[in-house]
């Protein structure tokens, strides 16, 4: 039992960025453990992505091709990946905390009777024992927990996206590609996705925006969000909201930033009337600069801020927007 196996993910006609991020995490662990970093690519015809996976940092690629894997049903993926793990018997399995991975990782662990650490933001490996330590936020980000894997079984870590940067593809890298045969029957699919309804977002995607402007419960209603949307658009950014504002029905949940909403990584994050509950902060811990306008000077948000104004947003915001507008147009 040796090696690091990564569950690769394909999004549309390219490798999902999580695959490169996991390869970076895997190579950092391999620097201590000396393991080989392999990526498993599952799909209808995954072979065409093998070169991309090697360029993204894989030493080796295993491809698992099956028509049942073509439309991304999680039960089929789980069964195929479990077989890939059994074939390759790695000591460490890395999975992204994506729509697929956050369910697949724990289910794989329960199925195989081994340990799994969910939502890891940092991993290290002990040189002498080969056992992994994982750091994960708990209590909505109020605390950090460090865990290690008991016994000597396979160690599965589900890694939070964007905790490392995916490397620039290096097409000079070389590596072997090996096809793995698996036995899949349609009966393994017990829950079936029959439709996907996508709500197209206008303008810049929240997750990709370099500037995000968010409002919270303190705004008191729908209308102020129109003002915030105007500010976001003026800055070439996107608008977000706290969970409380979404739960109140002022905005659709697709605007929600936080632990159970979207994770954003802007250069500038402007928050208005957001108290900064840890559940919210968990979604914006990757922001480079946080700015807050809040009437409560003890609000938690100020602990993470570069700049803050203690005051009534009704009065602060119009003057702020007017000045921003002048600066941008001058």
């Amino acid at each position: 039992m040796a090696g690091i196996l990564i569950l690769g993910e394909i999004e549309g006609d390219a490798l999902d960025s999580i695959t490169g991020e996991l390869a970076t995490v895997g190579q950092a662990l391999a620097a201590t453990s000396g393991d080989e970093v392999a990526v498993a690519l599952l799909g209808g015809t995954p072979d065409s992505f093998a070169g991309d996976a090697i360029a993204a940092g894989a030493d080796k690629v295993y491809t698992v091709a099956d028509p049942l894997l073509a439309d991304g049903q999680i039960d089929a993926y789980l069964s195929a990946f479990e077989q890939a793990v059994q074939h390759t018997s790695p000591s460490i399995v890395l999975i992204g905390k994506t729509e697929l991975g956050r369910d697949l990782g724990p289910r794989l662990a329960f199925r195989m009777g081994v340990g799994v650490a969910q939502d890891c933001v940092e991993l290290s490996v002990d040189e002498s024992t080969g056992r992994v330590s994982a750091l994960r936020p708990v209590y909505g980000g109020n605390a950090m927990a460090k865990v290690t894997f008991q016994g000597d079984g396979i160690q599965i870590a589900v890694v939070r996206p964007k905790t490392t940067e995916a490397p620039e593809p290096d097409t000079s890298r070389t590596g072997e590609t090996q096809a793995l045969g698996v036995e899949l029957e349609s009966s393994v699919i017990k829950s079936r996705r029959v439709d996907t309804v996508t709500q197209a977002s206008e303008g810049v995607r929240l997750e990709d925006a370099t500037i995000v402007v968010s409002g919270g419960r303190g705004l008191g209603g729908e209308e102020p969000f129109e003002t915030l949307a105007g500010l976001a658009s003026m800055l070439g950014g996107a608008m977000g909201a706290s969970r409380a504002a979404c739960d109140a029905g002022w905005l659709d949940h697709s605007y929600q930033v936080g632990l159970t909403g979207k994770t954003i990584t802007p250069d500038l994050y402007i928050t208005v009337a957001i108290s900064g509950a840890s559940q919210h902060m968990a979604g914006c811990s990757g922001a480079k600069h946080v700015v807050a306008i809040n009437r409560d000077q003890d609000a938690n948000i100020f602990k993470s801020c570069s700049y803050g104004v203690v005051g009534d947003w009704n009065k602060v915001l119009p003057a702020f927007i007017e000045t921003v507008s002048e600066l941008i147009n001058s």
Binding site: D75, E99, R102, D103, P106, R107, F110, V114, V116, A117, Q118, S133, R136, V138, Y139, G141, N142, M144, A145, K146, T148, F149, Q150, K190, S191, R192, R193, V194, D195, V197, T198, E207, R243, D247, H253, G261, L268, S278, Q279, V291, A292, Q297, F302, S304, C305, S306, Y307, G308, V309, V310, G311, V316, P318, A319, F320, E322, T323, V324, L327, I328
Partner: protein
């Protein structure tokens, strides 16, 4: 159709506890509950109770059983789902199940569900606000060999099974499964209802069924930790906030914009 719904619920430290009152005992590596702030039923588990009540209202004949494993239960807290309208409460109350990891918790809940015997639908909150694992429902499904659909913002039960709208970051998936099935519920389903006075009166007259670990057939080995918690600490922020103070609020707003330009952030 007669429908037996089990809702798994967990008693947790109130997540609204102010950060200033949040303490950790580094020796036991546990959270020290803040004085005067009672625990609560995990918020997403209340969403699961709400989902069960909506299904019951749409169906002619459904029974809702709320199930929890742990120790140190506060009965007034754990009875809240009953006062919302659930039919019965079963507690596996034993120090042996007081400090389990996700693996042990899923095992204990699955064994208790086997002992309950009759079930069509197992509902859970999408994750618990203490360890934020979102793993236990997946474990229950794997142990019992059931289909599992996570993060439901809408759920409907018919003769063919269950249909769920699974929330995505930009929309939703429609996912179907046969019964019995495990489904986890997210807050997008809607606010859980408040208990009515009548509901509270009814709940006060109900006595929970209490089992210990051996009654559920749990052995020590089944509950051993797969992960070892080696450290638990409160992260320190190294950010120092520069407060912008103008002559009045409007002036502060103006100065903030100038400061952001000066820092080349806009």
């Amino acid at each position: 159709m007669a429908l037996n719904i089990i809702v798994c619920a967990k008693q947790v430290v109130d997540p609204e506890t102010p950060a200033s009152a949040f303490r950790i005992d580094p020796d036991t590596k546990q959270i020290v509950p803040a004085q005067g702030i009672p625990p609560v039923v995990n918020g997403f588990d209340e969403n699961a109770v709400e989902a069960a009540l909506q299904i019951k209202e749409a169906s002619s004949d459904a029974t809702i059983t709320v199930l929890s494993v742990g120790s140190g239960f506060v009965m007034d807290v754990m009875k809240k789902p009953l006062s919302m309208g659930a039919d019965q409460l079963i507690l596996v109350d034993d120090p042996a199940v007081g400090n389990l990891d996700a693996f042990g918790t899923a095992t204990a809940l699955a064994e208790a569900i086997r002992k309950i015997g009759e079930y069509d639908l197992i509902l859970c909150g999408r994750q618990a606000s203490d360890w934020d694992n979102a793993m236990v429902p997946l474990g229950i499904a794997e142990i019992l060999g059931l289909p599992c659909i996570t993060i439901a913002q809408k759920i409907e039960v018919s003769d063919d099974g269950v249909t769920v709208h699974k929330a995505l970051s930009d929309g939703y998936e429609v996912v179907k499964a046969g019964l019995p099935a495990v489904v986890t519920i997210t807050n997008e389903l809607g606010e859980p209802r408040y208990p009515t006075l009548r509901g509270i009166m009814t709940a006060s007259r109900k006595t929970p069924t209490v089992w210990d670990a051996s009654e559920v057939g749990l052995s020590h080995d089944q509950l051993s930790h797969k992960l070892d918690l080696t450290e638990l600490y409160i992260p320190v922020s190294d950010t120092e906030c520069e407060f912008i103070e103008g002559e009045d609020d409007a002036d502060s707003g103006r100065l903030l914009a100038l400061k952001l330009r000066e820092a080349r952030l806009i």
